[in-house]
Symmetry: C2
Subunit: 284 residues, 2 copies
């Protein structure tokens, strides 16, 4: 990959990267699409990154389907699929990590120790290996997106970032490779998550400023679905990720739940500068 990237750079090409863990869906493909007019050569990486999974998590059973993924990427105009194996990314003596101190603490960071360190480390490595000039990340993983932006700033990385909006199923559920874990019944229960976010978005759009009230509304919608377990519901400043009491601007509602064994996350910008598009399309 590095050799090929050097050749392309030498030829004056601008390189764009979409890092993925594979099992691709329309969300990933939308990120690739964002790079269309922004670079000469589109690269996508497929790598299920072991160091971003905590020991109790689903690294081994994370869904994989490289054959179908490669077809998807080719159809999306990706010129280079970078699919390294774990041993080449983390040889036995590997011991160097990226630590992002403050931003990795709240939200998912509280429940997934080491997760963001693993994410930041592999993203930095892939930036280096691919020599990319621009890279696309999805806002579904909102905290991750903010962390990558921080790393690029703090490490003076010569990489432009582009963030893609969350792509949703018809009923509003955010697309995620982990949705494939859901049984039919669980999948129905999971609809409460976009419903809860939409209720919060509407409430804030109607002028509710009290974070506690909005969180309460989200909790009410989620708890109406007894098969869901809430991990967190938080309203944070969308730059610092610190909790806020009043929804004035830059407010992000972030939620993590379990449906059975499957952990799902979702988020939406709320308040005066929040999302104006409904999460669940009219009529669904």
């Amino acid at each position: 990959m590095a050799t090929r990237a050097d050749e392309l750079k030498k030829a004056g090409k601008r390189l764009g990267l979409t890092p993925t863990m594979g099992y691709l869906h329309a969300g990933h493909i939308s990120l690739v699409g964002l790079l269309n007019d922004k670079c000469d050569v589109k690269i996508a990486s497929i790598f299920v990154n072991p160091i971003q999974f905590t020991p109790a998590e689903d690294f081994n059973r994370y869904p994989r389907n490289e054959v179908s993924d490669l077809k998807f990427l080719e159809a999306a105009g990706v010129e280079i699929a970078y699919c390294p194996d774990v041993a080449s990314i983390y040889p036995p003596d590997f011991q160097t990590y990226v630590e992002i101190e403050t931003l990795s603490q709240p939200l998912c960071g509280r429940f997934r120790p080491g997760h963001f360190r693993g994410v930041a480390t592999v993203v930095l490595k892939f930036f280096h290996v691919t020599r990319c000039d621009i890279a696309a990340f999805g806002l579904k993983d909102f905290q991750q997106a903010m962390l990558i932006r921080r790393m690029v700033q703090d490490f003076d990385l010569p990489v432009e970032l582009i963030f893609g909006p969350t792509v949703r199923e018809k009923d509003g559920l955010a697309m995620s490779s982990r949705n494939s874990y859901l049984s039919e019944i669980e999948r129905k229960s999971a609809r409460a998550l976009p419903k809860a976010l939409e209720a919060a978005r509407k409430l804030a759009a109607a002028g509710e400023k009290r974070a506690g009230r909005i969180v309460g509304e989200v909790r009410k919608v989620l708890e109406a679905q007894p098969s869901l377990v809430i991990q967190y519901i938080e309203i944070v400043d969308s730059l610092t990720l610190q909790p806020i009491e009043k929804v004035l601007n830059r407010a992000q509602l972030a939620v993590a739940i379990f449906v059975g064994k499957t952990r799902l996350i979702d988020n939406v910008a709320i308040g005066p500068e929040g999302d104006t598009n409904p999460i669940i399309p009219e009529g669904e």
Copy 2:
């Protein structure tokens, strides 16, 4: 710096970096010289990096002389001197660090918590900002050199490394900006450090394999000089930096002492694959 580096890269130039904390001496200049035939444009950075000093250390009184440094660099053929200020390198929200786990623990790492994290972080930033293709580091800071090599490997950095041998004063004392702290009397006491290393080097060259015996000899020479305080004397594997009992190959003797308030470090490769040149020239 980044803009200039991008222009040079676009013009096909190969860039070489010598990172320094300024107050330059012949050791630094020898590193610049190593880059002569290895790149098209020589860059040197001058930056006293606050985050690699522990709170009790000498950040504020670290010697500085930019005017003289720039003359030295120009005479050495350096085209670009990169001298950023602290606020531009570490803006208020800065929070992203490089952690090198195992190699940063022993030797100086035991006594300077956070030091190598600070070193690795600033070196990574300067690699990014300068877009350097090759960088020179001195073996006087042996553990630092091994850490940088590890970081380059682990982070897949497209940077070639070149390591320069320790440059010494006539009496064998390793050149260091911190030597300027020494009073005349302290400077004389400090001669025991190269003497001790030379005694160890000879002992190992004569066939002594027992690390304990060699360390004992070093201790004897240093303790003969009552104004020195030993911080550590260790013989380690020169790749892993782990302590070794038998000097078979890849053995590095590393020493840290205080002369008054001034901390000095030095090291030498000993044993069958060790240095064959005496540390103290004949007749001194």
